[in-house]
């Protein structure tokens, strides 16, 4: 059974998605339990694979029995195994947390929502597990299509922003396809390991075709992950969607695209090529610095909670891209670690924002008054998430910043280290601005009213907490942030250090 785990990881969700889509017409009641079961099963199998990988190295699974260059191959190694676990865990936690929200927003089409939900997770898991460049494109499209439809239904501007997301996402995916096409012309193969073998050959190293393939592939991925100059679609797409779908899409899409960038950068275009031959690292890190600085500043200028969180996502993308293109071991470790941490952080913040909007119906800053009294549990989880984004130990955000900044210092790129510090400061201002309104003002009063030393709270505003099904997953995620922080050492030494090929200093 263990031998088939990589296949089961993806096939079980696919088969369940199909049965759920059929059952939603025949027996709609069965849809939710089936969805829970399938995502739980794929989480279990991804944990099984992680243990397998740690024990005995990368797992290779040939689809259809055909070996590497001929058929499609699944390669699950030290880099993809942890990301798999994070993706499935985020999907499971979000499913539990937003079941009430789904009932409220998509009451009549729940079956289809669950199908699209599982297909989105299958796409994500497939992207992380695949070892074939073209297969990655197909899965990219599945994840993208389900993403567009999940985001399409929401508040008033959701369809328009989803259509814009579709246009720019398609350009990104087509650029990636074009890049794979250029690689195919240059080498004739589509399998990642095979392509890497060709990269080592001198005549490919110098050919402009491969260089241009690199540029186009990477531009495609940068568009899909919303790197700074190409991020226009992300804020509207994630803030107008229903909280249930944006809490699924936001933590996963950008992080898995960054995983794809690292996979393509390290395992297709070998590091010797990307950092040695092309010297592209320096310029890319400056773009990442721009992403971090503008992402944080734009987040400061926002008036609504979700919009602010999306700009923080854009800044975090800058962290990871910059970390990767530093080119040294610390930077890449930090970037890989930040994929895991940032997925957890973004999930925690979006779930908390979803719980708040579930109660207060609006995520504008002036409607967040007195939330610490009304929703203490949600706000404590939101605080833990905020501390993680700011980078306060012992939360996980601090430790990925630790690696990223040290990578920046060792690579001599002080601009990048300074940008990270600047962004932590701006994040601190962002979140404490919210804590002020949530802590000081009383609900319903215009401005923070003056009251004397002996003011007693007569109208003890009673607790209007979000439903338990939202609070428990939120608490688990918040504790997960601290656990991730504390176990950084084990994650890095056992998993991420082995993921980085030897060629990097």
């Amino acid at each position: 059974m263990i031998r088939h785990l990589p296949a089961l990881l993806v096939i079980v969700p696919l088969l369940t998605a199909l049965t759920v889509s059929a059952l939603s017409w025949v027996a709609p009641r069965l849809c939710l339990p089936l969805t829970f079961g399938c995502i739980g099963a794929s989480l279990a199998s991804s944990i099984g694979i992680l243990v397998e990988v740690i024990k005995s190295g990368p797992v290779v699974y040939t689809m259809g029995g055909w070996s590497a260059p001929v058929g499609i191959v699944y390669v699950i190694d030290y880099l993809s195994a942890p990301v798999l676990v994070v993706v499935t865990a985020v999907a499971l936690i979000n499913l539990i947390a937003s079941s009430k929200q789904i009932d409220r927003d998509f009451s009549d089409k729940k079956g289809t929502f669950y199908t699209l939900y599982i297909l989105f997770v299958t796409g994500m898991v497939g992207i992380v597990a695949t070892g074939d460049a073209f297969n990655l494109y197909v899965l990219l499209e599945i994840a993208a299509l389900t993403g567009y439809s999940l985001i399409g239904i929401g508040h008033e501007r959701a369809p328009l922003s989803s259509l814009n997301y579709l246009f720019i996402g398609t350009i990104g995916a087509s650029f990636y396809l074009l890049g794979v096409g250029y690689l195919y012309i240059a080498t004739g193969s589509l399998n990642m390991a095979d392509l890497a073998r060709f990269m080592a050959m001198p005549e490919h190293g110098t050919s402009t075709m491969v260089m241009f393939a690199f540029i186009i592939c990477m531009t495609g991925l940068f568009i899909k992950m919303g790197l700074f100059p190409l991020h226009g679609w992300l804020p509207n797409a994630y803030s107008y969607a229903s909280p249930a779908s944006s809490a699924l899409v936001a933590p996963l899409t950008t992080k898995v695209m960054i995983y794809a960038m690292i996979r393509v950068g390290l395992y297709v275009f070998t590091p010797a090529y990307v950092f040695g031959r092309l010297q592209v690292g320096g310029a890319m890190v400056w773009i990442a610095v721009a992403a971090i600085v503008f992402g944080s500043l734009l987040a400061l200028a926002q008036k609504s909670l979700f919009k602010m969180l999306t700009y923080i996502v854009i800044a975090e993308v800058g962290y990871m891209v910059g970390g990767f293109f530093l080119g040294n071991r610390m930077g890449i470790t930090g970037s890989a670690l930040h994929i895991i941490n940032d997925a957890a952080m973004t999930l925690c913040l979006f779930l908390a924002a979803g719980a708040i909007t579930y109660r207060t119906k609006s995520d504008d800053f002036k409607d967040l008054k007195g939330l610490f009294h009304q929703m203490p549990f949600t706000m404590t989880a939101f605080t833990v998430g905020a501390l993680a984004v700011i980078g306060v130990p012992p939360t996980c955000g601090f430790f990925s910043k630790w690696y990223l900044i040290i990578g920046g210092i060792q690579a001599g790129h002080y601009g990048y280290a300074a940008a990270l510090i600047f962004s932590s400061l701006v994040n601190a201002v962002l979140f404490f601005r919210i804590f002020e309104t949530a802590y000081f003002d009383q609900p319903g009063d215009g401005k923070g009213h003056h009251h004397g030393h002996h003011k007693h709270h007569k109208h003890k505003n009673k607790m209007v907490e979000a439903p338990v099904s939202m609070i428990v997953p939120l608490m688990i995620t918040a504790l997960g942030l601290i656990a991730l922080g504390i176990y950084t050492g084990d994650i890095v030494t056992h998993v991420i250090q082995a993921a980085i090929p030897g060629g990097i200093a």
Binding site: Y148, G152, L163, F167, S174, Y184, L190
Partner: protein, 132 residues
Amino acid sequence: MEQIFTAMGAKYNYVAYIILMMVGLYAMIVKSNLVKKIIGMSIFQTSIILFYVSTAYKTGKTIPIVPYDAHAAVQAADFINPLPHVLMLTAIVVSVATLGVALALAMKIYRQYGTLEEDDIHEDLRSEEGKS
């Protein structure tokens, strides 16, 4: 300069796909009518399909269907390359799917705002924000 023209002679398929791609990209960026943008998107995707398929061609060779009897020696050189065609089957299906979703979204927007012109939509969005 003439080196480019002679090269162009032998590589006109790349020039064709680039022109098509640029037309598609231009339409997507500049046109304000949503349906025109969708048309531009499908041109953009079709150009990439053209690129893949054009690389598969070998002058004067037949389609990749080998003779039926299993023991006949098969000369790979006299059939065109089948792999890009398979990939492009997938790409065609993906572009159809994206087209379908895009049209569904466009229809939903039309139902909500009554117009398909993105500029008019932005106008009444701004006026709406101004009011609220």
